[in-house]
């Protein structure tokens, strides 16, 4: 089911949380809303779900304007940042809730509900926890139960608010791969919020980069990374260096977009080595250039020629690869 967000604005008192947002999401897409804290990601997600009413604009599902529809009628699956499991219900009852709330005519029998719930719990690989209460679960388990609960009513649209926010790095990685697979298997249209660019790059078909209530760029992961529409997007999608060129001009480049050399080479600039950090497959060298306080970080493969016998305080020559210089306005 496709989602169209047309000119949606939302103010909280005098504060503009969302300013004329336009976004089309194709059926079956997995879209990431990426942006710094407070930029309006949750607000946008809540407006799509109908938990919040926009001050202006429309939400269209599959060609039908649902702006006036109640939350209950939108049939949207929603996973909250802190899961919001029903604390007084067992895992089983949590997952069964949506089925049991159906109107009399559509409500399946308890037998059928039990089958469906166990099927879902098996899918999230937590069937053995069905008698536990939420407080007896780990964060990752709660997260998967919240997902199973949302999927029980067979939503066409799944919205996830920082679904992996509270988990440790390893579980996060596991779960997001799992989510990407699941998304494919059950043919959902999903939007998930994150402020972790790596997460967005890894899982999403398209990334929507937001800042201060507006969309900065929409594009495939490669596109926003390679062709950032603004300085903000560039900075936000990974580490970046700024090299001042004088006359209010500067150059932005990523740590790996650099060529290093021990000898003075054409077009390379001299810099003092401040720090050398082996980070597994790559090594990060921190450089100090004359004329600016901001340090430059360069990342090269760990067996790069320039690194052999390199020590702090020595001089290294570097040159940013490609990228146009940017004129400061």
């Amino acid at each position: 089911m496709s989602i169209e967000i047309r000119n949606v604005s939302k103010n909280f008192n005098a504060f503009k949380a969302l300013d004329a947002i336009n976004l089309d999401i194709q059926s079956g897409e997995l879209v990431a809303l990426l942006g710094p804290s407070g930029c309006g990601k949750t607000t946008l997600l809540r407006i799509i779900a109908g938990l919040e009413t926009p001050d202006a604009g429309n939400i269209v599902f599959h060609g039908e304007d649902v702006s006036q529809h109640d939350v209950r009628d939108r049939n949207v699956g929603f996973v909250f940042q802190h899961y919001a499991l029903f604390r007084h219900m067992t895992v089983f009852d949590n997952v069964a809730f949506g089925l049991r709330m159906k109107p009399k005519g559509e409500r399946p029998g308890e037998q059928e509900i039990a089958e469906k719930v166990h099927e879902l719990l098996n899918m999230v690989q937590l069937d053995w926890l069905s008698d536990r209460y939420p407080e007896q679960l780990s964060g990752g388990q709660r997260q998967r139960i919240a997902l199973a609960r949302a999927l029980a009513v067979k939503p066409k649209i799944l919205l996830l608010d920082e679904p992996f926010g509270a988990l440790d790095a390893k579980v996060r990685k596991e779960l997001r791969r799992w989510l990407a697979r699941l998304h494919e298997e059950i043919n959902l249209t999903s939007v998930f919020v994150t402020h972790d660019q790596e997460e967005a790059m890894e899982v999403a078909d398209r990334i929507v980069v937001m800042n201060k209530g507006v969309i900065e760029q929409i594009g495939a992961p490669g596109e926003v990374y390679e062709k950032p529409a603004s300085d903000f997007v560039y900075h936000f999608l990974g580490d970046s260096n700024r090299l001042h060129l004088g006359d209010d001009r500067h150059l932005l480049f990523r740590p790996h977009e650099v060529s290093l050399s021990r000898e003075a080479v054409e077009e390379h600039r001299a810099a003092e080595v401040r720090d050398i950090r082996p980070l597994g497959a790559i090594t990060r060298v921190t450089l100090k250039v004359d004329g600016q306080d901001e340090l430059i970080e360069a990342e090269v493969v760990k067996d790069h020629d320039s690194l052999t016998g390199l020590a702090r305080g020595e001089v290294l020559y570097f040159k940013p690869k490609a990228r146009q210089p940017i004129v400061h306005g």
Binding site: F78, A84, R87, G98, A150, A166
Partner: protein, 286 residues
């Protein structure tokens, strides 16, 4: 630094003697101010034997006072329950103008002396009051009659349920309710299956406190009662009348009846409190 704060500080550092002294002092105070009066009431009541005690309680005026007290409780507590839940719901789940005014109004009976509350009802509904003429034209008696007692009881007990629930519901937030709506629950289903189970122990606690107050209220009820024996006397009023008539044994016998009810309520309160603290660890935080 005073010696008291010194002792407390010492206890906190783990000085076992200071700690024991403090605990002993607490128990002594408890015995002096709570257990001793309890003992006195019971011993006075039973001074002339169990027979007199039972007679005093089964005496028609005492029974009618008991009935009136129970009636006042049965009417005011359910009404407060409904009002308390509704008010707490509005205050904790919605933003609206006049919200802080509503919270202040809910607290009003705590800050107004019960006697004044009673007087307000006399002023409004008494023979010389604002609505007095209209009421007497329609043959309705409120003051110096049962409705007045119920109204006065209602007034003084208004804050109990709401006060208990507002912080509880504010702390729990609205996310579970939102989750229920998203899963297709209608307003009533959401309240019944999600909100109510989450607040039930707080609710019981509030109801218990409310009941205790409704039973024991003296000031406000005293003003609107008119002290008509066997008609508008509640248990506390009846105790006072007996006491003023130097009928000490009967007074203390009836008092011990109230005391018994209070003990039951205390146990209920203890129980709901322990359930509440156990169940109220939020499940959706890490």
């Amino acid at each position: 630094m005073t010696s008291a704060t010194l002792t407390v500080a010492a206890a906190r550092r783990g000085n076992p003697w200071a700690r024991r002294a403090l605990i002993l002092a607490a128990w002594l105070a408890f015995a002096l101010f709570l257990l001793l009066p309890l003992f006195v009431v019971l011993s006075e009541a039973l001074k002339q034997g169990l027979g007199t005690f039972v007679d005093a309680i089964l005496e028609p005026d005492a029974l009618s006072a008991l009935k009136l007290t129970v009636l006042a409780v049965l009417i005011s507590v359910p009404l407060n329950l409904v009002f308390g839940v509704a008010a707490a719901w509005c205050v904790s789940k919605f933003e609206f103008r006049g919200k802080s005014l509503l919270v202040t109004l809910i607290d009003l009976p705590f800050s107004v002396s019960p006697v004044i509350a009673g007087l307000i009802y006399v002023l409004l509904f008494g023979a010389q009051g604002y609505f007095g003429e209209w009421l007497s034209d329609h043959d309705i008696q409120i003051v110096f009659a049962v409705p007045g007692i119920v109204l006065a009881t209602l007034f003084v007990t208004v804050p109990f349920v709401a006060r208990e629930l507002i912080p509880l519901m504010q702390e729990q937030g609205t996310q579970e309710e939102e989750a229920a709506r998203l899963l297709g629950a209608n307003g009533w289903q959401m309240f019944w299956h999600v909100t109510l189970p989450n607040i039930r122990w707080g609710l019981i606690y509030g109801v218990v406190l409310c009941t205790a107050r409704a039973m024991g209220e003296f000031g406000a009820v005293s003003v609107v009662s008119g002290h008509i024996r066997g008609v508008t006397n509640t248990l506390p009023l009846h105790v006072e009348i007996l006491y003023n008539e130097y009928n000490h044994v009967a007074a203390f016998s009836v008092a011990s009846l109230l005391l018994l009810l209070a003990l039951v309520i205390l146990l209920l309160k203890q129980w709901s409190e322990s359930r509440m603290s156990r169940l109220n660890t939020p499940a959706d935080e890490e």
